[in-house]
């Protein structure tokens, strides 16, 4: 039995005893294979599957989809589930649980581009094996694509960067796209001169102002229920954290410092906002009640200058960027504590499954987007759209 992390044999044995008492073991012929369902951070270990029968792009897409949902493609002898099918002509696929030869899923997919059909199959496979988890193969992301100094547009694409479409064509500067549900994006645009926050319906292109105050109107973050927006405004003389309804009404100021605040995000229950402040000198993460109150420092022990927090949908983690000589993607328990460095990169955004992150990487004038499977730290580059792609936001 391979484990993704090298662990001391004694620790492994201890883990095995603990898990056996929980009943998480499988009889495999004469030997007993002990499975460790969760790693030391509490992420589910990759489920071993064997994928066969697919070719070319379909094969690659299916393997990548399953990888970012926590499945590892291994030889059939080591697999717990057999995923087989075909993309010759139509797309079809089935899942068999090896231990009892039981078919968990079987279906043919027609009526769309092969890539979309494979994404649908991948989600069905994930639902069949782990019904309680949120599949992500058919999700979307938004990002900022920069073509030159002071020129950027917002794009939306599949989560893997495929099928990118321009959401703005303003020949101006935009920043910080953020989803309100699955059909609306909020972002900052400089098209009218000053940076203002607008909401755009993706199907109609209709845009309405969310925040249009004197000074900076930047860094929008929509609450998980889609009704409130946290943002940074400088209308009172310094960049501070504010919250309002999505139509701009009910504005409330939540931070009151002379220093710069930035990058708010919401807890999944919508009660708390995490943001960056320099109240105490160097930048630190703080949390504050969405209804107001005193901000509390969130410890990110072990790494300097945390920025760009993003709260995982399951509420357990806050991903962020540590700024030092280079940018590091880190996670920290949502209650604060020791930070875990995952990879080089900036501006992480959680997938709906609280397992994968999308981030940007590279020099300021040539960034590209990457997907990261947090438990395995595996990274996959996403194709670049314009000169520099950054600020990804995963629709969830």
């Amino acid at each position: 039995m391979k484990t993704p992390h090298s662990l001391h044999p004694l620790l492994l044995a201890l883990g095995a005893v603990t898990l056996m008492s929980a009943g998480a073991y499988a009889a495999d012929g004469e030997s007993i294979t002990i499975e460790r369902p969760f790693d030391s951070l509490g992420f589910r270990n990759a489920i071993l599957v064997n994928i066969s029968g697919f070719t070319g792009e379909a094969d690659a897409v299916l393997k990548q989809d399953l990888m970012f949902m926590g499945y590892k493609n291994v030889p059939a002898a080591e697999a717990k589930y057999l995923v087989s099918g075909s993309n010759a002509g139509r797309v079809e696929g089935r899942v068999i649980e090896k231990i009892n030869n039981h078919q968990l899923h079987g279906r043919a997919y027609t009526g769309g581009a092969q890539r979309s059909l494979i994404h649908a199959l991948a989600d069905d496979i994930a639902r069949a094996i782990m019904p309680g988890e949120t599949p992500i193969a058919q999700t979307k992301m938004a990002f900022k694509a920069m073509s030159g100094s002071g020129k950027a547009e917002i794009y939306v694409s599949d989560y893997d960067g495929f099928g990118a479409q321009a959401v703005t064509r303003d020949n101006s500067l935009v920043a910080a796209p953020c989803w309100a549900g699955k059909g609306t994006l909020l972002y900052t645009t400089y098209k009218l001169g000053n940076p203002y926050i607008f909401a755009q319906q993706l199907n109609t292109g209709t845009r309405v102002a969310v925040a249009k105050f004197p000074g900076a109107n930047i860094s929008p973050a929509v609450s998980p229920n889609g009704k409130r927006v946290a943002m940074i405004l400088s209308k009172n003389g310094s960049p501070d954290l504010y919250v309002a309804n999505l139509d701009g009404s009910g504005l409330k100021q939540l931070s009151f410092s002379r220093e710069a605040e930035s990058s708010p995000c919401w807890s999944p229950d919508g009660q708390t906002i995490c943001f960056v402040s320099q109240i105490g000198g160097p930048p630190q993460l703080y949390t504050v009640s969405a209804s107001g109150g005193a901000p509390k420092r969130l410890r990110t022990t072990g790494v300097p200058s945390p920025t760009e927090p993003d709260w995982s949908p399951d509420g357990k983690w806050i991903a962020f960027t540590s700024m030092s000589r280079s940018f590091q993607i880190c996670i920290v328990p949502a209650t604060g504590g020791d930070a875990i460095v995952l990879a080089q990169g900036e501006d992480p955004s959680w997938a709906p499954n609280s397992r994968a992150l999308i981030m940007s990487r590279g020099p300021g004038n040539g960034r590209h987007l990457c997907l990261l499977d947090v438990p395995s730290k595996q990274i996959k580059d996403v194709g670049r759209i314009l000169g520099s792609d950054s600020q990804p936001s995963w629709a969830r």
């Binding site: 069949a128 699955k182 209709t206």
Partner: protein, 209 residues
């Protein structure tokens, strides 16, 4: 299994076409009425309309506005100007020599930079109908939105100095581009130092000085 999948796909299709979670706007919000803001925007600088995207329609409308938000200046600083300068003619070259530079990750004004701000103030005294826009910028060693806030803080700090010298705060609009408009896009300290700056843009009213 099959029907579950179908239902899921149907739900996705409905969501995609209606595209409207968390976006239940009153119809009146969708229409921009000239001369009105349509937003509780506190007497903002413009009632400019942003057309549907992709593709914008007409040039922005303009109505002047005044920021009347009360504030204790000792706490945060002067509120940004709410006046609209859209039809003023910008001149980036007039004060090019007066660009204010900052230390890494700082928005405080270095003593070495104060004479430049004084020079701008002295020049502006001779052009009472003109305004000056302060544009805050950063290097790219911070993250993007962090830098957008830092650039704003820098622009507001320069503006505070001008106001302390006696300039009408209304005539000093500010803007931050963060790291998005570098003066030098190279990646070494000499370039970064050039990017940590606040530029002065002279704004002349349509009728001239």
């Amino acid at each position: 299994m099959k029907s579950n999948t179908l239902i899921t796909l149907l739900v996705i299709a409905v969501l995609t076409t209606s595209g409207a979670i968390g976006c239940r706007k009153k119809p009146s919000r969708l229409t921009n009425i000239p001369g009105q803001t349509g937003r509780p925007d506190d007497g903002g600088p413009s009632s400019a309309k942003l057309g549907s995207g992709p593709g914008l329609d007409t040039a922005p409308n303009m109505t002047p506005g005044v920021n009347t938000t009360p504030l204790d200046p000792s706490l945060q600083g002067n509120p940004p100007s709410g006046k609209n300068f859209d039809n003023y003619i910008p001149d980036a070259s007039r004060f090019a020599a007066e660009t204010v530079y900052f230390d890494f990750d700082k928005s405080s004004i270095k003593p070495s930079e104060l004479p430049k701000i004084r020079a701008v103030f002295d020049a502006m005294k001779t052009m009472p109908t003109c305004a000056v826009r302060v544009e805050g910028n950063t290097d790219n060693r911070g993250t993007e939105e962090y830098n957008r806030s830092l650039g704003e803080r820098r622009a507001l700090s320069v503006r505070e100095e001008l106001v302390k010298m006696g300039m009408n705060p209304e005539m000093v609009p500010t803007i931050s581009y963060g790291e998005d408009k570098p003066a030098d896009s190279a990646t070494h300290e000499a370039a970064w130092a050039k990017n940590r700056r606040a530029d002065f843009i002279l704004l002349t009213p349509p009728g001239g000085k």
